[in-house]
Each structure stands twice: as structure tokens, then as C-alpha cells.
């Protein structure tokens, strides 16, 4: 009966066993690689879930740096970077930029004074279509060195549904067990607060590798240094929604500028640990000026549907061994996919 149905006169048992073994092996290997046997694995989905549970309603918004404002402008390269890297947007010239300023929060309605860290993201486009995307923060070092530590920090900031607040013990406990946060916390305590995006320096934090025309690679960390002098204010005087308005006001008077600086690392400088600053006195090369011309509301602005994934790089700039970079790329893609889907459903 079975033989008739299958149309075979040959053996059945051995083929059945072989087929079951081959299919079983392939299917289990697939499930293992996909993480289906391993619910404890730290995946982009779990990271982004946690980021989205730090207060407010992030649906339709970025799961981190959720509150921000778009800008447009250009990057005026002075050509000094061409000795270091073949990136086309480092050749002297002007390249269009789409960007975004934000505060580092999970809540799109957070008060501007509630976030210690602010950020600038840029997308610089070369004439041949190559892109350089970068997200930079106002702290000169990052709080943690690894994705696992970042996840632990995010978990410590997660809202407990029972109280509507994070567990008050969680962040102190995290800090006590993560001494690498020291340099960041020292900055957070001592750096002046200001009431503007315009007067802040922004640091790329992660190391990258610049590759020149001869194929020589050099470790680098880059930063944007403001032309506008910083005006310190007391943190509790910063209004809930002042930053976007301040930006618009300043831009009504004229463009804002930042100098882009490449800080070149020496062979012993850490490239895999964004919590450790490089020693002072490292060679710095000014490669150009970022000119911000106009700002747009995020809800309809040109930055809304951009993923400022820091691993989107032109030829001539490559990833370093910093483990945060791949984790950022994977998490930003997941956050992007979710918020774009949420936008469509609106």
C-alpha cells in the first residue's frame, strides 16, 4: 500500500532513516543558528525591547535618542583628510548632509533637561553615491565597553510596571559592578549643562580605521567641535522643550558650524574600548567644517526615516575591533524596522 503510494519497489526503512537524519540535522542546525533553542541569547530584538521600556511611548519613534530634530546642511571638506583616507567626501569640496540632533532618552516626550547626553547624527553623501553615516554623543567617552554591559545598563533603567519607575536600587547596583563607567560619570558630574544643541561638541566615541590610497590603515576617533561658545546654565533651568526652539532661533540668524577633527591613535591606544580616552596630545587633523543651514520638525523632517547606522561607511573608512559597532548596527536596524512599520500602520 505504502509502496504503491510512493511508487517504489526499493527499500523503505533505511532511506527513511537517512532522510530523517539529514533533515533533522539541517533543521536543528538552522534553529540553533537562529537562536530558537536559546531564549537567553542577547539578540537585537531583546536589546531594542529593553530600550523601549524606559518610560514614555516610543511607538513610531527611535528606541533610543527618541526625541530630536532634523537638520540639513553640508560638509565642506578642506582636503586634509585625503592623506589619511580615500573616502570621497574627504576630498576638498562640499557634500550634502542630512542630520539629526537628539537627547539620549527612550521617551519621545522627555523633558530636554532630563537627558545628560545629547547627540548629533549625520549622513554625508558623496557624488558617487557612497555614504558616511555617523552618530555622535556629547560625552567624550562612552559609559560601557560591551553590548552586554550596555544591555545591563538599559535594564537597570527599565520602568518597573508595578511602580511606574525604575527600581531605585538597580542603577547604583549596575554602577557598583561596572567600574568602567567611571570616566563617563566623572564627565556627567563635571561638564557644564547648556540650553542649546549649537554649543556642544559631539564625539564619535567608537574607533574606526582610516585607509589611505596605499592601503595603510590608521585608527581614528572623530569629533565635531562647535564654533559657538558654550553658555553654561543650571540644569534645573532648562525648559522641557527648549532645544529645538533654540536651534531654529539661531538658524534664523545664520548657519551654525562645527569643525570636524580626526584624532589619530597610536598603536597601543585602545580601539576596542569606548570607555577609555586616548592619551592627550594625539595628532589631530581638521578635515572640514559641518555647516548646518536649516532645521525641520522630526515628525515630517528628512531625518525621520533615516537609520544613522554607524557601520554605513565609504571606502577608506572601516570598522575597528570595537564590539559596540556591530551591536549598534544590528540594534539600529531592528529599531528602524519597528518604527518604520509603526509609522506605516498609523
Amino acid at each position: 500500500m505504502l509502496r504503491r503510494l510512493l511508487g517504489t519497489d526499493g527499500p523503505l526503512l533505511v532511506p527513511a532513516i537517512v532522510i530523517a537524519l539529514v533533515l533533522g540535522a539541517l533543521a536543528s542546525a538552522f534553529a540553533a543558528v537562529a537562536g530558537w533553542f536559546d531564549p537567553g541569547r542577547l539578540t537585537p530584538a531583546r536589546m531594542v525591547d529593553a530600550l523601549g521600556r524606559r518610560g514614555g511611548d516610543p511607538v513610531g519613534h527611535r528606541r533610543n535618542h527618541a526625541k530630536g530634530v532634523c537638520f540639513t546642511g553640508s560638509f565642506a571638506a578642506n582636503g586634509a583628510g585625503t592623506d589619511l583616507s580615500t573616502a570621497p567626501m574627504l576630498a576638498a569640496g562640499r557634500y550634502p548632509v542630512t542630520g539629526r540632533f537628539a537627547i539620549a532618552t527612550g521617551n519621545p516626550l522627555a523633558a530636554d533637561g532630563s537627558a545628560r547626553v545629547r547627540s548629533m547624527a549625520v549622513r554625508i553623501v558623496a557624488p558617487d553615491g557612497q555614504e558616511w553615516r555617523s552618530g555622535m554623543n556629547t560625552s567624550p567617552v562612552f559609559a560601557v565597553a560591551t553590548p552586554a554591559a550596555f544591555f545591563a545598563m538599559v535594564q537597570a533603567a527599565m520602568i518597573d510596571p508595578a511602580t511606574g519607575k525604575p527600581d531605585p536600587q538597580a542603577m547604583p547596583a549596575f554602577i557598583a559592578t561596572h567600574p568602567e563607567t567611571g570616566a563617563f560619570l566623572a564627565w556627567a558630574r563635571s561638564a557644564p549643562w547648556t540650553a542649546s544643541y549649537a554649543d556642544q561638541a559631539y564625539y564619535g566615541l567608537n574607533a574606526f580605521i582610516l585607509t589611505d590610497a596605499r592601503g595603510t590603515g590608521r585608527p581614528v576617533r572623530w569629533s565635531m567641535r562647535p564654533e559657538t561658545a558654550a553658555a553654561a546654565v543650571a540644569p534645573d533651568t532648562i525648559g522641557a522643550d527648549v532645544l529645538a526652539g533654540d536651534l531654529a532661533e539661531r538658524l534664523a540668524r545664520g548657519p551654525l558650524r562645527w569643525t570636524m577633527v580626526m584624532t589619530l591613535g597610536q598603536p597601543d591606544d585602545p580601539t576596542d574600548d569606548a570607555t577609555r580616552p586616548w592619551p592627550a596630545g594625539r595628532r589631530e587633523v581638521v578635515v572640514g567644517t559641518l555647516v548646518v543651514d536649516a532645521a525641520q520638525d522630526e515628525a515630517h523632517g528628512p531625518c525621520r526615516d533615516v537609520n544613522f547606522d554607524p557601520t554605513i561607511l565609504p571606502d577608506g573608512i572601516a570598522l575597528s575591533d570595537d564590539p559596540l559597532l556591530a551591536a549598534r548596527s544590528a540594534s539600529y536596524a531592528t529599531s528602524f524596522d519597528r518604527r518604520i512599520a509603526e509609522q506605516v500602520r498609523r
Binding site: G10, V22, L23, V33, G35, P44, P147, A326, I340
Partner: protein, 176 residues
């Protein structure tokens, strides 16, 4: 067309693409499930390898239409003949659709489509949130369908080779 075997070029394409496609499915599900540094390497491999598969699939389809395939055994039960034909059409469709959907979803998402270094592909769709969502979901679900169809295809191939021993398996393995 009553050859007993596929042409050498068809066999070479079949087996090299089988390895590449199975690798791509593992790379795909692996890279979206990890934050480890290998994520970046896998993504950088996934795009160019996917595009190579697209090119090979089009060449292979051309060969299949021109050179045909050896006939299936006449005594094969009707439902197996039907499944064989249907699944082969489906496999061809997926070999071409998967890379196109990947390329399209990056286009719709406003990403540069980097193959290697300064080599990029142009977008094949305008930036669009709706298309991005549809294609991103399709890339995931078509990937799972692809894997399931490949498993059934392997089961059928082994059944031909080990139980029926009707020359179907060797038509893709042995020289003519």
C-alpha cells in the same frame, strides 16, 4: 530531449548554488539574531553573495529554458511528478526573488547598497516606508519558505537515490 542527465554546466551551477543558498539562509537568520562583532562581517558577506546568486540564477534559468532537463521516470506517481515540477518552479522563483527582495528592501529603506568597498548597486525602488515594511517582512518569510522547500527537495532527492533508484538522483550527480 531525452538525455539521462543534466549538462555539466547545469550540474556545476546546481551544486555550487546549493552550497551558496544554504549558506545564505544560515547567514541570514544568524546575523539578525546576534549583536556580536560577526554580525558586521555576515552582513557584509550577505549582500554580495546574494547578488552573485541572483546572477547565477538568471544564467541557470536561461540554460534550463534552452537545454531543458532529462524527463522524469514515466512510472512516477502523478502526485510526485506534479510536486517535482511545482517545487522546481518554486525553487527557481525563490532563487530570483530572494535577492531582488533584499535589494529592493534596502532601496526602499534609503540605504546605500554596498557590495564591497566603493562598489555599490543603484536602488531599484524609490525610498518608501510601505515598500520597506512589505519587503522586509517578505524577505524573512520567503527565507523560511525557501528553507522548508529545500528540505523537502532534499528528502525527495534522497528518496529517488536510495529507494526508487530510478536515475533521477544520478541525473544531477554523475557524468552522462
Amino acid at each position: 530531449m531525452s538525455r539521462r542527465s543534466f549538462t555539466a554546466a547545469q550540474k556545476l551551477l546546481h551544486w555550487s548554488m546549493a552550497v551558496a543558498i544554504i549558506a545564505m539562509l544560515f547567514i541570514g537568520v544568524g546575523m539578525v539574531a546576534t549583536l556580536a562583532p560577526i554580525h558586521a562581517d555576515l552582513v557584509a558577506l550577505h549582500r554580495p553573495l546574494g547578488v552573485v546568486i541572483l546572477v547565477l540564477a538568471l544564467i541557470r534559468l536561461g540554460l534550463r529554458l534552452r537545454r531543458g532537463a532529462p524527463p522524469l521516470p514515466a512510472d512516477l506517481p502523478w502526485w510526485q511528478t506534479l510536486s517535482a515540477r511545482g517545487s522546481h518552479v518554486l525553487l527557481y522563483a525563490l532563487m530570483i526573488a530572494m535577492p531582488l527582495v533584499g535589494w529592493g528592501m534596502l532601496s526602499a529603506g534609503g540605504y546605500p547598497i554596498v557590495l564591497h568597498g566603493a562598489w555599490q548597486l543603484p536602488p531599484i525602488l524609490p525610498q518608501s516606508n510601505l515598500l520597506q515594511v512589505i519587503l522586509r517582512q517578505s524577505h524573512r518569510w520567503l527565507g523560511l519558505v525557501f528553507f522548508a522547500v529545500i528540505l523537502l527537495h532534499i528528502a525527495a532527492a534522497l528518496f529517488h537515490g536510495l529507494s526508487r533508484r530510478d536515475g533521477v538522483f544520478s541525473s544531477m550527480v554523475r557524468g552522462r
